[in-house]
């Protein structure tokens, strides 16, 4: 008999090895002890012990987003699984491929309120792409391989496999990954040819075209970014990226208008508003991007490429939907463009770029670094200037610092920018940076953080130290939950209810307590030296940058407003849009 008998726990470890898994981010407990025992006996996968299960999922996300591979998590039942829920939801919202193995009480105890029992498949059903409860050891290996297949194909997402302890201990037959197919689940890759031709024709005849691309390009793989760049250059059309899509098109290129949306650039948002043909590539017309829906790009024909049919016509009705993989569809579009020898209308395009040039001249991200207080934008500008010469990976927490990082760090390549977009999870950045650093040893990995967010998963500093991962935490310390304070200033009459981060720790000492390195900058002239020192140290570093407490992040499209209604940093106060009552109810 060629079939191999082994325990469930051994099968799990073998399945991970057969899937090519390098790292498992996890935390042990009673319900996964057999798996930890099997891990102990193998060298094929490396276990990274985190300090909190939420950190495990974010680390796996960082690994996945910076490599395009599936991130793997292993947690125990009950609290282990519930602690992972935020990470799973984050991965679902941002379409990140994760396989999360959760321990479960023995099958005969399920439903009895046993110690550390939780209805993990019930709890995670709405926050995963799919989940499984394995009740037969002979289905175990197959299920894990299927979980990897579901997580990485189509629109990627998190998949949970719940593993009762008795299944881990019983003997069964292992099945290899080559046997996996699914009788119902089969994502569509190829776009419809007629739709593609119609789309390219629309693009070729456009007078005021724009490319609007998102995280789907990055998920589709390196080739998608290359094809997107090629197509944009062939046409000569402008392009903007969503927060999730940064890096899919080189930011230093002159056709790049910067990020769009709530804190996007003036030129990107106005070009979206006034365009006549919009090609949306792997983005989803999120509310942060569209602003007020009934005023969103009112005069454009809209083409939408997405692998997930449910993303199409969800928020915005589009004229030409193309369901398929971004790279596959872009390749077909380029082919049509070339075969039919299409050319952009030079006169119209010149006029369009002229208009865009005027918007650009508004220089919407300009700030003045004056006086003795460090402007957060200045700190990031210096970080960018000093790191742009090397291949740098940036993660972020959530808040103003995140938006400034999106505006001031420029990405030339995909998979270099990891931020929690859909869920906006404070505490994402440090564990994510750990996952990134593991995948890219020797590369500079910086978590741009806020002083409030970093405290949400600060325990992961210990993980970084244990595994000798020289991640850098770059805190823009404004002593406020700055983004909350900004909304309170604009929407709630400046009543800063509970948004002051009082009783802050001394971040330098805190770093030292974790056996990491702490640095501090309080004056603008110290910035460069501190950043250089941070880069020179080959250990985890926390940099506490004391920045202006009252700085706001602009441009800003206030909630409930349209793309053309931006608040600008140096705008005429009289003419600045204000927030309506309807807008107040929006998040």
């Amino acid at each position: 008999m060629s079939e191999t008998q082994m325990t469930g726990a051994e099968m799990i470890v073998k399945a991970l090895a057969d899937q090519g898994v390098e790292f498992v981010f996890g935390y042990p407990g009673g319900a996964v002890l057999p798996i930890y025992d099997a891990l102990f006996k193998t060298n094929s996968v490396r276990h990274i012990l985190v300090r909190h299960e939420q950190g495990a999922v974010h680390s796996a996300e960082g690994y996945a987003r910076s490599t395009g591979k599936v991130g793997v998590v292993l947690v125990t039942s009950g609290p282990g699984a519930t602690n992972a829920v935020t990470g799973l939801t984050d991965a679902l919202m941002d379409s990140i491929p994760i396989v999360c193995l959760t321990g479960q009480v023995a099958t005969h105890l399920i439903g009895n309120d046993a110690f550390q029992e939780a209805d993990t498949t019930g709890i995670t059903r709405p926050c995963t792409k799919h989940n499984y409860l394995v009740k037969d050891v002979n289905q175990l290996a197959r299920t894990i391989h299927e979980a990897f297949y579901v997580a990485r194909t189509g629109r990627p997402g998190p998949v949970v496999v719940d593993l009762p302890k008795d299944i881990q201990l019983s003997l069964g037959t292992y099945a290899g990954p080559e046997k996996v197919s699914h009788r119902t689940y089969a994502p569509r890759m190829q776009g419809d040819t007629r739709a593609i031709e119609q789309a390219v024709e629309l693009l070729a005849n456009a007078k005021k075209p724009i490319f609007y691309s998102g995280g789907g390009v990055i998920n589709s793989g390196d080739k998608a970014s290359e094809l997107l760049t090629k197509f944009v250059r062939m046409t000569g059309y402008p392009i903007t990226n969503t927060l999730m899509g940064l890096g899919a098109y080189p930011a230093s290129d002159k056709q790049f208008l910067g990020m769009l949306g709530m804190h996007g650039t003036y030129e990107a948002n106005l070009a979206m508003h006034q365009c006549d043909v919009m090609l949306c590539v792997g983005a989803r017309f999120d509310d942060r991007v569209t602003g007020r829906l009934d005023a969103f790009s009112p005069n454009s024909k809209k083409i939408h490429i997405d692998i997930d049919p449910s993303s199409v016509n969800k928020n915005v009705a589009v004229d030409v939907p193309i369901i398929g993989d971004v790279a596959t569809v872009l390749e077909a579009m380029i082919d049509v463009w070339q075969k039919r020898s299409y050319k952009a209308d030079p006169a119209a395009l010149k006029q369009w770029w002229g208009q865009i040039g005027e918007w650009r001249a508004r220089d919407c991200l300009a700030f003045r670094q004056e006086g003795a207080i460090i402007k957060p934008q200045y700190a990031l500008q210096r970080l960018y200037e000093l790191t742009k010469g090397q291949d740098t990976f940036i993660t972020t927490e959530v808040g103003q610092h995140q938006m400034w990082a999106a505006q001031f760090m420029k990405f030339e390549k995909p998979n270099r920018w990891m931020t929690s977009g859909g869920l906006g999870t404070m505490g994402y950045g440090l564990p994510a940076a750990i996952g990134v650093q593991l995948a890219h040893p020797g590369k500079l990995v910086v978590d741009v953080a806020g002083e409030a967010s970093i405290l949400m998963n600060i325990q992961e500093l210990s993980t970084a130290v244990q595994h000798r991962l020289p991640v850098k935490v770059f805190i823009l310390n404004n002593q406020y939950m700055g983004m909350v304070r900004q909304w309170q200033e604009l929407l709630h009459g400046g009543r800063y209810s509970e948004s002051y981060t009082a009783a802050l720790p001394d971040f330098v000492k805190l770093a030292e307590a974790f056996h990491a390195v702490g640095l501090r900058a309080t004056k603008p002239e110290e910035m460069d030296d501190v950043i250089k020192e941070m880069m020179a140290v080959d250990r985890p570093v926390v940099v506490d940058v004391a920045v202006d407490q009252k700085e706001n992040c602009y441009p800003m499209i206030p909630s409930g407003r349209a793309h053309y209604e931006m608040i600008l940093a140096d705008g005429d106060a009289q003419k600045q849009p204000t927030i309506t009552d309807a807008g107040l109810a929006l998040v």
């Binding site: 409860l133 119902t184 997930d308 049919p309 016509n313 969800k314 009705a317």
Partner: protein
């Protein structure tokens, strides 16, 4: 093809073929509640024991964009084989079954039997003081019957919810 964007909500009957596995109904129902779609009626039963396939019939309502979303979201669930909007995909037959209990004596009792006859309801249980009627038909027919039974001693109603199938020779 561009989608209809009118804002009028209409009722649609959607048929869903799914793998009959643990949690599949919870996935479908969770999708409706999680995304704020309403369920007017829902039926589910295994229709192919050999392949372990179940058929779910959902009656829901929404604008054309919402109905398209519901279909796309359902199709995205891993154990879902096929989703079909029977309301737009040609003619169909819709049926519902009701069991209706009426209690009474004397003239009202006779009257309920007379109406049941007109509606072609069958008596499936009877005592000296009660009947249980079985009635099959469209939801409207069932509603009309139940309304007529109300003054005649209606005490209990159990309905299956709508099941539907397309007319003609083709499968779903």
């Amino acid at each position: 093809m561009a989608i209809a964007t009118d804002q009028i909500a209409r009722s649609h009957t959607i048929a869903i073929l799914v793998d009959n596995e643990a949690g599949v109904l919870a996935r479908v129902i969770g999708l409706f509640s999680g995304r704020g779609y309403n369920i007017e009626s829902l039926t589910v039963a295994e229709v192919d024991a050999g392949r372990r396939v179940s058929r779910i019939t959902v009656v829901t309502s929404g604008t054309p964009m919402i109905i398209e979303q519901i279909k796309a979201q359902l199709s995205r669930l891993v154990p879902v084989h096929r989703v079909s909007d029977l309301t737009v995909e040609g003619p169909r037959v819709e049926r519902e079954l009701a069991l209706v209990k009426v209690a009474g004596k004397g003239e009202t009792r006779v009257e309920s039997l007379r109406i049941a006859d007109i509606f072609r309801a069958r008596v499936v249980d009877s005592t000296n003081t009660s009947f249980v009627f079985e009635l099959t038909g469209s939801a409207e027919k069932l509603n009309a019957f139940i309304d007529l039974m109300r003054p005649l001693g209606l005490v209990d109603v159990s309905r299956t919810g709508i099941v539907a199938i397309s007319r003609g020779p083709n499968p779903l």
